[in-house]
């Protein structure tokens, strides 16, 4: 496993990287980590910023207001999934627009959906020509297990 791409729109992953268990690896066997996120990156891992925070713009404020209004119920959250403002769809559109993100996914041996809004990007990547051979999992516990098993196979 040479490259692991973590799809984390919020960037929350930067504080949880230890959960991947990479400290247990030999330095030469450690895969390179790339985080796809909105906004700023962080020093903990290489990041590719796929878009910028639009919360200050009129569209961004409107989007957040709608999201907040709909987030209180399961029906509202599902309704929001159908709109173009759905976080998963926005992330996937942004990834497709980013050459660096596309390249990272093409080189990935493992794609990790870290948040709910990451799922569509991970799924679309492995079900398209972008990363047809990569493994894709939801959540860090699964990623840790896949990495551990790939080490055992190496």
């Amino acid at each position: 496993m040479k490259r692991v791409v973590l799809v984390s729109p919020s960037g929350s992953i930067f504080k949880s990287l230890a959960e991947l268990g990479l400290d247990d690896l030999d330095p030469g066997a450690t895969p390179s980590l790339t985080v796809l996120c909105w906004g700023e990156g962080a020093p903990e891992a290489t990041s590719i910023v796929v878009g910028h925070d639009d919360s200050g713009t009129l569209t961004g404020r409107l989007r957040r207001a709608v999201q907040r209004a709909l987030s209180g119920s399961a029906a509202g959250r599902n309704l929001h999934r159908l709109t173009p403002w759905d976080g998963g769809s926005r992330m996937w559109r942004a990834v497709r627009r980013s050459p660096a993100a596309r390249q990272a996914l093409q080189e990935a041996g493992l794609i990790v959906a870290v948040e709910r809004d990451s799922i569509l990007t991970a799924w679309k990547s492995v079900h398209s020509s972008l990363a047809p051979d990569a493994a894709a999992v939801y959540g860090l516990p699964s990623a840790r297990t896949v990495l551990k098993e790939s080490r055992a196979d190496d």
Partner: protein, 448 residues
């Protein structure tokens, strides 16, 4: 009594080490406590992959299992814990919440509990195999999930084995809203009524939840007991020395899982207001440790909130392992107990918070059951309501206490909190169950 003559406990807990979920500590401690009292203990739990691929694990917890305990793992195949995205359908990937709802309904066929209902038959079959090989004297199921109760009922019906229901939460009661979640006559109600009727004992984590159930099942109130959570003594070796340098800026800490019920927005609004009114708090910070939801996947709303308040001295520092817990508490000057609203809500972390001796601010509805635990503490302060102004006042008062708490004062609080060590909660019940119960192994090996 030889080891072979000792009573045999079948303990059913979906979440058991290496699972890292909050309920694991109670399960681990309960099974261990019975083993230490001489019982032969078999634990029935989910397979390791459920935890390695789903919830996440704390690998250090497996070493805490009493060496005499036999752990039997039953495969758990709920779709909610299938994390290989490659195998997901188009609509699961596009509408995960909707898919989760659909899947939960599928699980209800065997047992009325979403996600876990499908586990009933494999569990019961495993319990029967265990009983035939090594007759069971007593079954304890710990919930949730409530499907953990079903092997007890099955062994009772077939062989007369007594069982105990251990509720860490409640099934029909929403502990946050206080509302009944399933109407009388529903499948959940029918199942629970049957389970309670035949149970030898029913345990609850606090008195309000026990009282609610005693009212629903008055004929069985005398077998309902409070077995509170507690802190684990081996994890709670806390210093009584205040942190040097706190005058330059305090560190208020929160350790725990942040579910959607936890009023973090109210806390952050109050915190921002308090910082505008207090120089000390303006130079202080909040450090948050833990998971951002129960499932291993961060909660979308808390992620948005952390982003919104990132300029307000609030840091999210991720999960903290058991081996670092004491050092992490020692990096704080005071603690924030932020809980969902509900008079039935205690939380497990309240006991650990008490044991630290640090000043604690309750940021929750004053009617929460946690208030009953803390009200005798000399280091406790509570917000009267969840308005930003009230929380700001509470945080300013908390800062004052944190700044002035002496080593002797902290030590006194630690001594007071010793009553909440977990074994003090369990031992009375083990003692009561200790005599070989009616219908023990020797007379119950053949089916009824």
């Amino acid at each position: 009594m030889t080891k072979q003559d000792a009573p045999h406990l079948l303990y059913v807990a979906w979440g058991y080490p290496p699972c890292r979920g909050g309920g694991v500590y109670r399960a681990l401690a309960t099974a261990n406590a019975f083993a230490e009292k001489g019982w032969r203990v078999t634990v029935l739990t989910a397979n390791r992959e459920t935890f390695t691929m789903g919830t996440g694990i704390d690998s250090t917890l497996e070493a805490e299992i009493h060496p005499s305990i036999n752990v039997v793992r039953v495969p758990f195949t709920s779709g909610a814990y299938q994390t290989d995205v490659r195998g997901w359908s188009f609509w699961r990937a596009h509408a995960p919440e909707l898919w989760n709802g659909y899947r939960a309904r599928q699980d209800l066929r065997a047992f009325p509990e979403g996600t876990y209902g499908g586990w009933r038959m494999p569990l019961e079959e495993a319990a029967l195999r265990i009983h035939r090989a090594n007759p069971v004297s007593l079954t304890i199921g710990t919930a949730n999930p409530h499907v953990d109760f079903t092997p007890g009922l099955r062994l009772h019906k077939d062989f007369g084995v007594p069982y105990v229901m251990d509720y860490r939460d409640a099934w029909q009661l929403d502990v946050f809203s206080g509302r009944r979640m399933s109407p009388p006559g529903s499948r959940q109600d029918t199942w629970e009524a049957e389970l309670v009727e035949s149970a030898r004992e029913v345990w609850f984590v606090n008195e309000p939840i026990r009282a609610w159930h005693a009212k629903i099942y008055p004929a069985h109130a005398d077998k309902m007991h409070v077995v509170a959570n507690g802190y684990d003594a081996d994890m709670a070796k806390f210093s009584d020395q205040p942190r040097p340098g706190r005058e330059q800026g305090l560190v208020l800490g929160y350790i725990g899982t942040i579910s959607a019920h936890v009023p973090m927005r109210e806390l952050f609004d109050g915190w921002a207001l308090a910082r505008s009114r207090s120089e000390l708090l303006a130079s202080s910070r909040i450090d948050i440790y833990g998971y951002l939801d129960h499932s291993g996947i961060p909660n979308d709303r808390i992620l948005a909130l952390l982003s919104e308040f990132r300029e307000q001295g609030i840091r999210y520092l991720g999960p903290v392992g058991k081996s670092q817990i004491a050092d992490t508490y020692h990096s704080f000057d005071a603690l924030l107990l932020v809980l969902g609203t509900g008079k039935y809500v205690t939380s497990g972390k309240v006991f650990e918070y008490c044991a630290t001796g640090l000043p604690v601010a309750s940021i929750h509805d004053p009617g929460n059951a946690a208030t009953q635990i803390l009200e005798d503490s000399a280091a406790w302060i509570a917000t009267p309501d969840l308005s930003a102004a009230a929380i700001a006042d509470t945080l300013i008062a908390l800062a004052e206490r944190a700044l002035n708490q002496s080593s002797a004062q902290r030590h006194a609080v630690q001594a007071w909190a010793a009553q909440y060590e977990r074994s003090n909660q369990l031992l009375p019940r083990i003692g009561a169950l200790g005599s070989p119960p009616v219908g023990t192994a020797s007379e119950s090996e053949t089916p009824r």
